[in-house]
Symmetry: C2
Subunit: 350 residues, 2 copies
DNA sequence: TTGAAAGCGCTAACAG
DNA sequence: CTGTTAGCGCTTTCAA
């Protein structure tokens, strides 16, 4: 940077102003400096930038509906890992754990965070017009990131999570490939108004016509994210119908559903497909009750929002897109334990 | 750190010596300082450390057998991305592209790099005793990382790549799940002495007994990593045998094999499973000729070795293990385009 | 509109 | 064995 300043015949301060478009630079000088930067291919040293910019640290707030689904424990690991990582730079994180993912809880949690003078906010999206308006009002003053479920029409910086419709199609293809006899597919969702789950069902339905035999889909059964409820529902279903050839759990309750299927003795006969890599789901995968489960990189859903806000606040760097889709991560018994290096933990950044 | 020094009644220099075990500190003082560090939970600010330690930059050498398999183009993207990332800190990278992955080429390429005064070395492993001895002699003086294929008994810092045996088992399960009629499985490998490929075949063989019908495996056919050769081999095979129910390409040549299968008109009838996400493989996935392909995070195989050596050289941080396994990444038509965020590009580190 | 100077937290070279 | 000091590259006052 000294070098650039020397070449341009100005001071480092002026170069800095140009790099960051702070204005107050004579246009011709600005142009000259930009030219020189381009020619020399100069990039600021991020370590120095961070050292300087983060000397006062900053504060992020994050909402986590950790208490209604063990899936969020993995998300939380990502959050904790990012906190460990970034606290070294003076980043502070306040995590608010929610009982349920309702607008009411979300509003009050956000208000609490705003009172703590945060510099950035991370929330799972709840797709109502009021919430969008509220988020937009916050996003006017600080960066906001959504994760797991999006508010696509809001002014959030970006979304991090799965493409649920496509995940459903993926499940559908797996089903078509592995189904052995005609019958019905039974989808289970938590509630009717959770977009992620209904999209997963829609996705599967849309490819069912590719099956090599007659397969029809029943209306979705509801689990309210509860394993007990899922158990009951599946238990009753398997007693009354003998033509079930696939159980497809698009939301929570996958463990209860698998338990019921296992107890029915038809675990090796009925194809079961579900989501996420809960510890008990992995057991069911290994015992053959669950044929496929589809992961969505929960660790990254916790880690990346923080990393992205860090980049934004420390360097002014925007994320590479508005939608950062996590993988549609097909798991069977044999690759259940190979998470790959996508969790970043064990990596590697300053 | 000033704070620590003040509490211990010493200078920052002494604290630094203790933190990094540089010795030359009176044991009692050392103990006191360590105690204080533990109590206060002090962690050095990595931005400052990097700023200081990297003031002279450093130089990494990396070998890439880019010219015999398009797979390595993805690896190269990872390398380039890391180079862009880390060159900001003054890291220099010399990439040597190999024509073939032979010991001869490898030796001469490494020698060239050593003459350029590198501070760290990254190589795909070639598992011969001589190569191990040679790598060990280098590893005595600088950190060495293996990727894609390992030298498990060498003194390399760590390995980054797939667990090939387990990947083979995964392929086997997919086959057992989706096979529709009895017949033979035909494995294709490049050469007999490429461990990665033979392990993938072994892995599949070991789970074949789970198939719901009679399936036997033929001896492996050889492709020499060539698509033309793979085409010929598969073409001839399909003409002479009508009982082929699965083609399993464990090495290179997956595109040629798929072309031959497609041309035979039996693409929808024979299950084909292969590795990697080459552009043409994705086409074959979408047309239904290839049923499954298994990815191995090539981008990370290029990116991570550099990131790991950066961490090691800049901060003295060792990787989280000797074996960093990339994912066993099952792909079908529907999730072919969803790579997830594991590529880090578009992330997020200082 | 610009320059000068202080300093972020750490490391390394040198002096003692 | 320990302290002092200069300075890594950048940002941010403050003064001009």
């Amino acid at each position: 940077m000294n070098e650039i300043a020397r070449l341009a015949g100005v001071s480092r301060g002026t170069v800095d102003r140009v790099i960051h478009n702070r204005g107050n630079v004579k246009p011709e000088i600005q142009a000259r400096i930009q030219q020189i930067i381009k020619e020399t291919g100069f990039t600021p040293n991020p370590a120095a930038t961070a050292l300087r910019r983060l000397s006062n640290g900053f504060h992020l707030g994050i909402l986590l509906p950790s208490l209604h689904n063990p899936f969020y424990l993995d998300v939380k690991e990502g959050i904790c890992s990012a906190e460990t990582q970034y606290s070294k730079y003076g980043v502070n994180i306040t995590l608010v754990e929610l009982q349920e993912l309702t607008p009411q809880e979300q509003y009050s949690a956000i208000d609490r965070l705003l009172n703590q003078d945060i510099d950035g906010l991370i929330v799972p999206g709840i797709d109502t017009p009021e919430m969008i308006a509220y988020i937009d009002s916050i996003a006017a003053g600080m960066p906001v990131v959504t994760y797991n479920s999006d508010l696509p029409n809001s002014k959030r910086l970006c979304f991090i999570g799965q493409h649920h419709l496509q995940a459903g199609r993926t499940a559908g293809n797996l089903l078509c490939n592995s189904i052995r006899r005609p019958g019905v597919v039974v989808p289970l969702i938590s509630y009717e108004n959770i977009l992620a789950h209904t999209q997963r069902v829609e996705g599967l339905r849309s490819v069912l016509h590719n099956a090599p035999m007659e397969v029809t889909m029943l209306p979705a059964l509801h689990t309210a994210e509860s394993d007990e409820q899922a158990y009951q529902v599946v238990h009753k279903l398997l007693q009354t119908r003998k033509d079930v050839s696939c159980i497809y759990v698009a939301g929570g309750g996958q463990v209860g559903a698998a338990d019921a299927l296992a107890d029915s003795g038809r675990g090796q006969d009925v194809v079961m497909i579900c989501y996420d890599l809960l510890p008990r789901t992995i057991e069911h995968l290994k015992s053959g009750v669950v044929n496929f489960t589809i992961g969505q990189q929960p660790f990254l859903q916790g880690y990346l929002p923080i990393a992205i806000l860090f980049d934004y606040l420390a360097f002014g760097k925007r994320p590479n897109g508005k939608f950062l889709y996590t993988s549609i991560d097909i798991r069977i018994r044999e690759n259940a334990d190979f998470d790959g290096l996508s969790t970043i933990s064990g990596t590697v950044q300053i």
